[in-house]
Amino acid sequence: MDYPFKKVCVIDDSEIDRYIIGSVVKRYCFAGEVIEFNMAQKALTYLEQNQNNPSAIPEIILLDINMPEMNGFEFLEHYKSFPPIVLSQAKVIILTSSNNPDDSATAAKNPLVRVFLNKPLNETKLIKIVSAVKKPSAQTA
């Protein structure tokens, strides 16, 4: 089966949201595999461990903002110092319930963020991700 992406990962503390995202991705055959992390730190650790293993690195990171312990922006702070090969492979998409313009502004300023999307994820937003990722510059929804 031909998926737009082989592997994507979700970083979200809400179980329900992770479930929704996973279902939507599966439903629309967006990706072959979905890795879930309920904590940003866990995602960092995974990426770090697999930095020399390209097949383990996801192509899309769907990142939530509001999470306990380490939120989405803090994750990006740590993530930016990862090796370029990881950064270029794993492209970050922010997926949040926040409609706080400060958040979208901060995301826009961060070059790592390709797209800023509001939950819930749906077909239209998936298409947006695809078009955003295939282009070099970042976009906000």
Partner: protein, 791 residues
């Protein structure tokens, strides 16, 4: 005929006469000389000779007689012998004389005489030779022949010679007399001519003197007199009688007299202040004329200026004649009195008319004093002018007496000091007000002279503020510095330095009052400079700002609290909104999934209803969040990109219910320059209004639309949002903006939307109006100012 010609001609004539005379004299004298010469050389000697000859002849005769009859007279014989020796000479002499006589007849006669003389001589010789010795005398024949010769020849010959010689002598004498007469006459003539010459000299001298005197000296004297008169300023002209040089001099002198007349009348007219004259300099070399004209112009200008100045200063001049009560005034006096200059001679009463009765009395007393005691006249006189104007005049006067005017006049200078008085009064009042003000104000006013290091003044309030009195400060101005608390001393000195370089300073610092209390004060000091830029005075005010400082601190604390609470509120709001929103989005996600997965129509329907409710809740939360932010947050001032803004809003709204492809959203944007406002707030406004337009579209209409028209310039932006939706009833146009107002139960929104829009627009200092008709559509007009001006 010119004088020069006259003189020349006279000289010529006289010289001619001289020459003539002299020539005649010369000729005469020459003639005379000739004649004299002749006389002396020819006639006189001839005559003398003839006399001698006659005598000789007579003597010879007597001698020969003696020879014969008196032979013993030896002298006679000797003499005769001597005569005989000279006879030839005589003979030649006679012939020579003959040459003197021009007439041939006479020459012949002389020659005849000479011949006869010779004969006589020969006869004598015969006798002599015959009677040589004594013996001869004894011979009678010889004696008789001798006697016979003597008697018959010698004596008649001698007589004949005598007669002829005498004739000749007569003729010669006559000739001599004639010649002598002629000479005498000639000499007479010469004498006469010489006398004539002398006379001529006299006459010449006389004529010359006459000429010089009458024709030359007299007129010159006249000219000299005229000039002398001119020099003394008297102009007397003599009429010109002659056309010659003297006449020309006289004409010139007359011309000079005329000119002087002109100048003096010019000077007179200037003296009388009449400057319009026809006097002109004669030429570019006429220094005097030009100086006079310049002087006239200068004088005119100066007098005009003086008049102007006097007018401006309101000064006039009045001369009072106590004898006649008449007054002479400058024009300005009549100006001051607001009346035309009187045609008839004005008197003092004309002036007194403008004074009150009491003032008139005072004035008259002063005049009397001035006249009697030579006191100066000085008074301030309030008047009511002829036109009713109330003025105040200042009068200064003095009594002047001259040699030919013993009564004298009072000369006054009068000045209109109404304005000045008014200003003085106003100043007095202002001073009084300021004094009162100063006394009562709580701030310390002070002035300090940095040059003399003297405190010029300090207001009473110093006691209130500092606790020290005016006297304490007067004693030592340093007190002002001494009371400054230690920590603020350095700052105080810094400000002092700034003052020294001429900067006005305002600064706050703490002082210790006399009672030991520490307070905050604020001092403002302004320096004053002299023309060279040196600081010559410092004026300052010190205020007790303890209250203010207290308030400032309170305010700062309040602000701090407010900021804290604001930020807490902010966090709270976001945290609340997020916590509210997150589950909602999750719910939305599940609902969507269920919709996708279910095959049950009922389930799908239920899911849709659920979605609607969730949407409602979501938008309500968003509304509350917006409202909260609008109320609390400051208006941001940023560049607004309307195109981007509208596109963002459209993008957001594409998910909402009612949004479909049938609905056309039209944007028309016209922006001049840069528009500044709060973009996030604008977004809320636009989002709300456009979503309303979408929500309340008229399903019955074929082409539903929303038109957004933006026009912005450097002053403001006008936004119009128009739709052809279901519209709103007129009565409800005002109400729709109320909080939680919903038009009908069918209304989907929270009722907060338009309220938030209105509040937001007001926060941006804008205006919003609504125009709508049910079934037609709705138009919303927004006006917001361009926040480009920095406050």
């Amino acid at each position: 005929m010119s004088l020069r010609h006259k003189i020349w001609i006279s000289i010529l004539i006289l010289v001619l006469l001289f020459t003539l005379n002299s020539v005649v004299i010369y000729l005469e004298m020459d003639d005379n000389k000739e004649k004299s010469q002749e006389l002396s050389e020819k006639i006189a000697p001839s005559l003398n000779f003839l006399y001698d000859l006659r005598r000789n002849v007579s003597e010879r005769t007597s001698l020969i007689t003696d020879w014969i009859y008196n032979p013993e007279k030896k002298e006679s014989k000797e003499k005769l012998k001597a005569f005989h020796m000279e006879s030839k000479d005589l003979f030649f002499e006679i012939n020579r004389i003959a040459e003197n006589y021009k007439i041939p007849a006479w020459q012949d006669t002389i020659k005849n005489i000479s011949q006869e003389f010779l004969k006589q001589v020969a006869l004598e010789a015969d006798i002599v030779s015959s009677l040589m010795s004594l013996k001869d005398y004894t011979v009678d024949q010889k004696i008789n022949t001798a006697k016979n010769t003597l008697e018959n020849q010698i004596i008649p010959l001698s007589a004949y010679l005598n007669k002829k010689i005498s004739g000749y002598i007569r003729y010669t004498t006559v000739w001599r007399d004639v010649e002598s007469k002629a000479i005498a006459e000639s000499t007479n003539l010469i004498r006469r001519l010489t006398v004539l010459l002398v006379l001529e000299i006299f006459i010449f001298g006389f004529i010359l003197s006459f000429l010089v005197d009458t024709i030359l000296i007299k007129p010159i004297i006249e000219v000299r007199d005229t000039l002398n008169n001119l020099r003394n300023g008297i102009v007397i002209k003599k009429p010109v009688m002659r056309g010659d040089e003297i006449g020309a001099i006289q004409t010139a002198v007359n011309g000079l007299a005329d000119r002087m007349d002109e100048m003096s009348s010019f000077a007179l007219s200037i003296g009388q202040r009449s400057f319009e004259t026809t006097f002109r300099p004669l030429s570019s070399h006429d220094k005097l004329g030009q100086s006079l004209v310049t002087m006239c112009n200068d004088l005119k200008k100066n007098i005009e200026r003086l008049e102007e100045t006097k007018k401006i200063a309101g000064i006039g001049y009045l001369e009072y004649n106590p004898a006649t009560s008449e007054i002479e005034c400058s024009n300005n006096i009549w100006n001051i009195l607001d009346i035309e200059k009187p045609v008839i001679q004005p008197t003092l009463s004309d002036f007194l008319k403008v004074c009150s009765t009491e003032d008139t009395l005072v004035f008259q007393i002063q005049i009397r004093n001035c006249l009697k005691h030579d006191a100066r006249l000085d008074l301030i006189l309030p008047i009511t002018s002829y036109k009713g104007g109330k003025k105040i005049l200042s009068l200064s006067g003095k009594h002047f007496v001259t040699a030919d005017d013993l009564v004298g006049k009072i000369v006054m200078v009068i000045q209109d000091i109404t304005e000045r008085k008014r200003a003085e009064d106003e100043l007095k009042q202002a001073h009084y007000q300021m004094e009162t003000f100063f006394k009562n104000i709580d701030d310390v006013f002070f002035s300090y002279d940095p040059v003399t290091k003297q405190l010029l003044q300090i207001s009473n309030a110093c006691e209130k503020v500092y606790g020290y009195t005016k006297e304490d400060f007067a004693e030592s101005f340093k007190l002002i510095e001494e009371v400054v608390v230690k920590e603020d001393q350095a700052y105080f000195q810094e400000k002092k330095l700034e003052l020294q370089i001429g900067k006005p300073v305002t600064f706050e610092y703490r002082i210790t009052r006399k009672d030991g209390k520490m307070i905050w004060v604020e001092t403002k000091i302004t320096p004053s400079f002299d023309v060279q830029g040196k600081v010559i005075r410092l004026d300052g005010i010190t205020s007790d700002i303890s209250k203010r400082k207290e308030n400032e601190e309170k305010l700062s604390r309040t602000n701090e609290d407010l900021r804290k609470s604001n930020s807490e509120l902010d966090k709270f709001v976001y945290s609340v909104s997020h916590d509210l929103r997150a589950p909602l989005t999750s719910m939305q996600g599940i609902v969507e999934l269920t919709e996708l997965e279910t095959k049950e129509q009922l389930t799908a329907k239920h899911m849709q209803m659920l979605e609607k409710s969730i949407s409602k809740l979501d938008s309500f939360i968003a509304d509350i969040l917006n409202y909260s932010r609008n109320s609390r947050l400051d208006v941001r001032r940023e560049q607004v990109n309307f195109k981007e803004l509208l596109e963002d809003v459209a993008r957001e709204l594409q998910y909402m219910d009612g949004y479909d492809s049938a609905l056309v959203i039209n944007n028309k944007i016209n922006v001049e320059g840069i528009f500044y406002s709060d973009p996030s707030r604008l977004r809320i406004v636009l989002s709300n209004l456009i979503s309303n337009a979408i929500r309340y579209k008229d399903a019955g209409k074929e082409k539903p639309f929303v038109k957004i028209n933006v026009k912005a310039d450097k002053d403001s932006a006008q936004i119009a949002i128009e739709d052809n939706g279901i519209g709103i009833k007129k009565e409800l146009h005002e109400k729709v903006f109320n909080m939680f107002y919903r038009v009908s139960e069918q209304s989907v929104g929270s009722g907060l939307g338009l309220y938030i829009v209105k509040e937001t627009i007001e926060k941006l200092d804008g205006k919003i109006t609504l125009d709508s008709a049910p079934g037609v559509g709705t138009k919303v007009y927004i006006y917001i100012p361009n926040l480009h001006i920095q406050n």
